[in-house]
């Protein structure tokens, strides 16, 4: 089977994120890393391949984003993807979740994957949702936040935690599955894999190459329109203790608790 893994470039966790005051959108200029949740999706693809329950011919990493997003694809390939696709076009800039999902679905259609995997959330923005958007456009069954996935009975047996406990769901393929970070421990890429990543095939696509209707994408055509941003209500900063002498620290904690009659 063919597995496509959706990946995303996100701001490095160590870099302070900010808004562009002129647009109210996130300033993505400092972006520079593969979304950490996506590494679990790539690892899940690798484990299906290595598990042998179903032959995996190809693992393809797919992203949408500006020129810099190539780095996320290189990382994805170093972690095990065979090749990658970079959807990049100025008309896509400012797309909301629905428009982004549509554009990614059109790109995936050109590959006809048996399984689309992605991380359950991106570090910076759209929580949990992109997988369900992509799935509806592709007409595929979908499940998010999956923490266990096995090839079984010609499909996938997936487990996840939902509102009332753990659910086990049998999903037929082709399917779109977003995985939670408890599903596996992603491997570290070998030096050889990192060096070789840039030599693996990388296909660049523009919106037209994927058959994307440009009237449905981009900031101006996105139905959720970000109008303004404001500061949250101020909350008094808490007291901070740096533990140098643990005996002293514990005394301070105890005094703090005692003052509030919590012991």
């Amino acid at each position: 089977m063919k597995i496509c893994v959706l990946v995303k470039e996100v701001p490095d966790a160590a870099v302070e994120k900010r808004l562009d005051p002129s647009t109210g959108r996130m300033d993505r200029s400092g972006e520079k890393n593969l979304n950490p949740y996506d590494t679990h999706a790539i690892e899940a693809a690798m484990q299906i391949r290595e598990g042998g329950a179903a032959p995996v011919e190809e693992i393809v990493a797919v992203t949408m984003g500006p020129e810099s997003a190539v780095r996320a694809l290189h990382k994805a390939v170093s972690l095990g993807a065979d090749r990658s696709i970079h959807l990049s076009d100025p008309v896509l800039a400012g797309s909301d979740v629905a428009a982004t999902g549509y554009a990614l679905a059109k790109t995936l259609e050109t590959e006809s994957p048996d399984l689309v995997l992605l991380g359950q959330q991106s570090d910076d923005g759209e929580c949990y949702t992109i997988g369900a958007v992509v799935a509806d456009h592709l007409g595929m069954p979908s499940l998010t936040q999956v923490i266990k996935m096995d090839v079984a009975d010609g499909g996938l047996r997936c487990e996840r935690q939902a509102e009332y406990g753990y659910d086990t769901v049998q999903v037929e393929m082709p399917a779109v599955i977003s995985v939670g970070d408890a599903i596996n421990e992603p491997r570290y890429p070998s030096l050889k894999a990192i060096m070789g990543a840039k030599k693996k095939p990388l296909q660049s696509m523009a919106a037209a190459d994927a058959g994307i209707d440009t009237g449905k994408v981009g900031g101006d055509n996105s139905a959720a329109h970000w109008t303004a941003a404001k500061a949250p209500p101020a909350k008094a900063a808490g007291e901070i203790i740096e533990d140098e002498d643990t005996g002293e620290t514990v005394e301070k904690i105890l005094a703090w608790l005692d003052e509030r009659k919590l012991i």
Partner: protein
């Protein structure tokens, strides 16, 4: 007409609290934009009298659809049908996993604008504007909809439950067809409880453990501290460690776990992700111990301790014991 359609999740004869909050919120907002709040319930033989009780929270009408429970795609089909039949300007979801999935699928189906993690909604000029915190809650974005239907997915506990209605809602059957994709996923086991059944909602003091405890055995430190506080204290856990099998599901705080508001919430080795924060931010006093000075939890704790749990917790346990004894 500017009606609002709300998804109401039910399980074993009761509605989800976040769904009741969403119905209450929709009733209030619909009044402000000149429409009605209607709810939709999907399941196998949903009791009509259960559906009608949503009238107490302000729903004027409840649509009951027959279909497989616990999965999102059948609801995308049912809600898309209800919206195609006419009259709805917005679809609203309370916080929770299914709401995210249904709302996103519906946005794709309808080409509609969707905003998730919404903490507040207001009516302005007959339209709704959603507020969503971003960038680790350091800013709040305001979003308006430019599509015929706008989709609002609330954050956990964002919408207050209000019993404003005094009558049962009218109940109507909704007939719809399942899409092919909705027939290709089957629930095998639903709502499986893993681990011991523990009560964390009744405790005055919660010692909550996260990944920073290092391993399942690390919870011993949290349990010892809880025991030192006495019988009004219990141990809670984050989703990450519950999924990893370190602690029972019944002790889990947050998005797909429990919401708590104890007098003291002591977070040990918890970074403070939004999904955890939404389940405990109502706590009266929040103390966090974490070795990472940059952990988000320090931004909303009343007392933050930067240091090694393995050194601090045992000494704190001894000190609490001594204080209790003295």
């Amino acid at each position: 007409m500017a009606n609002i359609l709300v998804y109401a999740l039910h399980y074993e004869g009761a509605f989800n609290k976040n769904s009741l909050g969403a119905v209450s919120e929709a009733a209030k907002l619909a009044g402000e934009i000149g429409g009605e709040a209607h709810a939709i319930v999907l399941g196998e033989n949903v009791p009509r009298d259960l559906a009608a009780t949503l009238g107490r929270y302000g729903a004027k009408k409840v649509l009951v659809a027959e279909g497989p429970e616990g999965l999102a795609q059948p609801l995308v089909d049912a809600m898309a049908k209800a919206i195609a039949d006419g009259g709805y300007s917005y679809a609203l979801f309370g916080g929770g996993l299914l709401g995210f999935e249904i709302g996103a699928g519906l946005a794709a189906r309808l080409g509609a604008g969707v905003v998730m993690e919404v903490t507040a909604v207001r009516a302005e000029g007959g339209k709704l504007i959603a507020e969503r915190p971003i960038l680790g809650d350091s800013a709040i974005s305001e979003i308006e909809y430019r599509s015929p239907v706008g989709i609002v997915i609330g954050r956990l506990n964002a919408f207050e439950i209000r019993e404003t209605g005094d009558a049962d809602a009218a109940v109507e059957d909704l007939s719809f067809e399942l899409s092919p994709q909705a027939t290709r996923a089957k629930m095998l086991i639903r709502g499986e409880q893993r681990g011991a059944d523990v009560d964390i909602e009744g405790a005055d003091i919660l010692i909550a453990g996260g990944r920073g405890l290092g391993k399942a055995e690390g919870f011993k430190l949290a349990e010892d501290l809880a025991a030192a506080f006495g019988s009004n204290a219990a141990v809670a856990a984050t989703r990450a460690v519950v999924d990893a099998g370190w602690y029972p599901y019944a002790a889990q705080i947050g998005q797909t776990g429990k919401t708590v508001a104890p007098k003291l919430y002591l977070a040990a080795g918890i970074s403070g992700a939004i999904q955890h924060k939404v389940g405990m931010q109502g706590s009266e006093n929040i103390v966090a111990i974490n070795k990472d000075a940059n952990a988000p939890i320090f931004e909303f704790s009343d007392l933050g301790v930067v240091g090694d749990l393995n050194k601090i917790l045992p000494k704190l346990t001894d000190a609490v014991k001594a204080k209790k004894a003295g």
